[in-house]
């Protein structure tokens, strides 16, 4: 009883984290330094004589952090976990154990020497991207918190119904398939913007060097091939390749050592090399299964199994992946092992043949617009002919790829209803999604029809499906016949009543 009433403090390293939050206070020492450097000849001595002000500010920052830490307690009780924070304004949060959807334990490499673990407890409340309760706890207290979680049997391997560790090449293939330049660009963008301000002069010199290297590469390519590639294009290609590589390496580090264990009540996912993460997921809190593919994966019938569950894979650079790579037959077997009585089905309701244009029209319109812009440029700047040929080729390739992907999307998009679940196949940009969700998780269906579709296309419509989720996402099925759309809604209503 006494142990249940014991309040614990977070790991003392949290003092540093709280102190860093008040880093804006350092603006005063900065102003002082700038002022003394610009106005006084004996600037250094003046600055040194007033250093006690800076020291007081740093002490204030640490004191803020210390008192914040001192007045923060957590208590894993019998039915709830409680967190109390605040020196003057007291904030008390309580989460009932049976409301928890996922628990994340993150051991960053820089926290490992301090034996500290960041623990995030998530419920299905609308508080995405961050856990509903976030604690920095000593490693030894993590197990005692785990033991409080309902029916969780961490140390009973006999009851495991699934223990899966994907092969290393599957992880590399997954990292290859889901690495995007965008996340790398975010990293590099932040890095460049911040460092540019500090070292602008040397950076300018470096940029000149980069431009010189790009010019050399451009000349070499022009000598060996018929194409003349401007140095600016070489730099863009180089940046894209570098950012993609960065994203790939970050994925490898994130998903290396991926392991999934299922027992009677929970799923445990462990992943990461430098930063080790352990997710505890309660299967009944999973909203839906999302099987993702890109075009190449679709060609080979490979799926990446993702789940939508509050607290799992909700941060910007994380994917809520459950199994990185699986074939269709193995997906059905996996779902059986996970005690999920749903399986993949072929579509029963699909787009009508005349809707093909609505699938491929978007990339074709983009291509027409781009080509028009290219020809206008050529007309006014005839000297750019060689460069424009290269640009046109580079533009046409992705658009052509987009047309192929959208053609595949037309032949695979659709929906199938079963007794208590539905299987929805749709495509967004270059990705293919297959959603498996129980009927009660399908919360809204919206029929979208524009005037042209209604007048000239026999009432063709688009179905927008919304599933129960922390962050609502629309799943669009385009080009359905009006009768088919109405049938889907009737099925939805029938199952909603039952």
């Amino acid at each position: 009883m006494n142990r249940e009433r014991t309040m614990y403090r977070e790991h003392p390293f949290k003092i540093v984290k709280h102190a860093i939050k008040n880093i804006w206070l350092l603006i005063f020492p900065l102003f002082r330094a700038v002022r003394s450097l610009t106005l006084d000849f004996d600037a250094f001595y003046h600055w040194l004589s007033g250093i006690w002000i800076d020291l007081i500010i740093v002490i204030i920052m640490i004191a803020f952090g210390y008192f914040r830490w001192l007045f923060t307690f957590y208590r894993p009780g019998r039915n709830h976990i409680h967190l109390t924070t605040g020196v003057f304004i007291k904030t008390r949060s309580s989460i009932a154990y049976d409301r928890i959807s996922a628990v994340t334990a993150e051991s960053s490499f820089w926290l490992m020497p301090f034996r500290a673990v960041r623990l995030r407890i998530s419920t299905r409340a609308k508080n995405f991207n961050a856990g509903d309760m976030s604690l920095l706890v000593p490693q030894k207290q993590l197990i005692s918190i785990y033991r409080k979680l309902p029916k969780l049997k961490m140390d009973s391997p006999g009851e495991r119904s699934l223990d899966l560790r994907p092969k290393w090449y599957a992880m590399i293939l997954y990292s290859l398939a889901f690495s995007s330049s965008l996340s790398g660009v975010i990293y590099i963008g932040a890095l460049v913007v911040n460092t540019w301000k500090i070292i602008s002069e040397p950076a300018r010199e470096n940029m000149n060097n980069v431009y010189r290297i790009a010019s050399n590469v451009s000349e070499n390519v022009s000598e060996r091939t018929a194409l003349s590639i401007p140095p600016a294009i070489i730099i863009i290609i180089g940046i894209l390749a570098a950012t993609w590589l960065l994203s790939f390496l970050s994925n490898i580090l994130r998903y290396c050592g991926f392991n999934i264990v299922k027992d009677k009540v929970s799923l445990r996912v462990s992943t990461g090399v430098l930063t080790k993460r352990t997710f505890l997921i309660y299967p009944e809190k999973i909203n839906y299964i999302d099987l993702r593919q890109n075009f190449l994966m679709k060609l080979f019938g490979i799926y990446s199994v993702n789940i939508n569950c509050s607290g799992y894979g909700t941060s910007r650079l994380e994917n809520p992946v459950l199994i990185p790579m699986l074939t269709r037959s193995k997906v059905n077997r996996l779902l059986e092992h996970l005690d999920i009585d749903m399986k993949l089905h072929d579509r029963e309701t699909k787009p009508e043949p005349l809707a093909f244009w609505s699938y491929i029209s978007q990339p074709i319109y983009i291509m027409i617009l781009m080509l028009a812009a290219d020809f206008i440029t050529l007309h006014f700047f005839p000297k750019l002919t060689e460069a424009m040929v290269f640009i046109i080729v580079m533009q046409v390739i992705p658009v052509f790829w987009f047309v192929i992907v959208k053609t595949a999307a037309f032949f695979t998009t659709g929906i199938a209803f079963r007794d208590n679940y539905c299987c929805v196949r749709w495509s967004r940009f270059l990705a293919f999604h297959t959603i498996l969700a129980y009927q009660e998780k399908l919360v809204k269906i919206q029929v979208f029809q524009d005037v042209l579709d209604e007048k000239f296309c026999g009432g063709r419509s688009r179905l927008d499906l919304y599933f129960s989720s922390e962050k609502p996402r629309v799943n669009k099925i385009k080009g359905l016949k009006k009768t088919d759309a109405e049938r889907v809604i009737r099925e939805f209503e029938t199952h909603s009543k039952t």
Binding site: F88, K90, T91, R99, T123
Partner: protein, 141 residues
């Protein structure tokens, strides 16, 4: 279903705070905008009217309309100034709760309970210390 009303002490505290804030804004405007008399008069009038409207009309009506009905199954909040909004949350759907108590909350009654649900958050505000304890107990916080 028990009804809880917002506390009068909170209302008076807020009215005093709004009045003080308005006076400070008016003083600042008259000091810093004295070289533009017309603009100064307009700004002071806006601060004065909005401050006194909030303190003498908006807050009393808002507090009068604010009520909470708590039963074993659900909590209903009625609030609003001109349009009344009725929000209802079933207690079993609450995911977690946060209570906030300010310094001297026993005197000021500035207590808050935030109910996080699947889709949003329902704040229970400005209830007296006794009501705060009762509602917390009913919600098993």
């Amino acid at each position: 279903m028990k009804c809880y009303k917002s506390d009068k002490t909170c209302l008076n505290m807020l009215r005093i705070a709004v009045m003080i804030f308005t006076v400070l804004l008016v003083a600042a405007a008259s000091y810093y905008l004295s070289f533009l008399p017309t603009v100064m008069m307009i700004v002071i009038s806006v601060f004065f009217v909005s401050g006194f409207f909030t303190a003498l009309v908006y807050l009393p009506v808002y507090f009068k309309n604010m009520r909470y009905f708590v039963s074993e199954e659900k909590i209903v909040k009625v609030s609003g100034f001109y349009f009344l909004t009725k929000q209802s949350v079933r207690l079993e759907k609450i995911q977690y709760t946060t209570t906030i108590s300010t310094p001297f909350s026993k005197r000021t009654n500035l207590n808050f309970i935030l109910l996080y649900t699947y889709g949003g958050m329902l704040p229970v505000m400005f209830v007296s210390d006794r009501d705060f304890a009762e509602i917390s107990g009913a919600l098993k916080v």
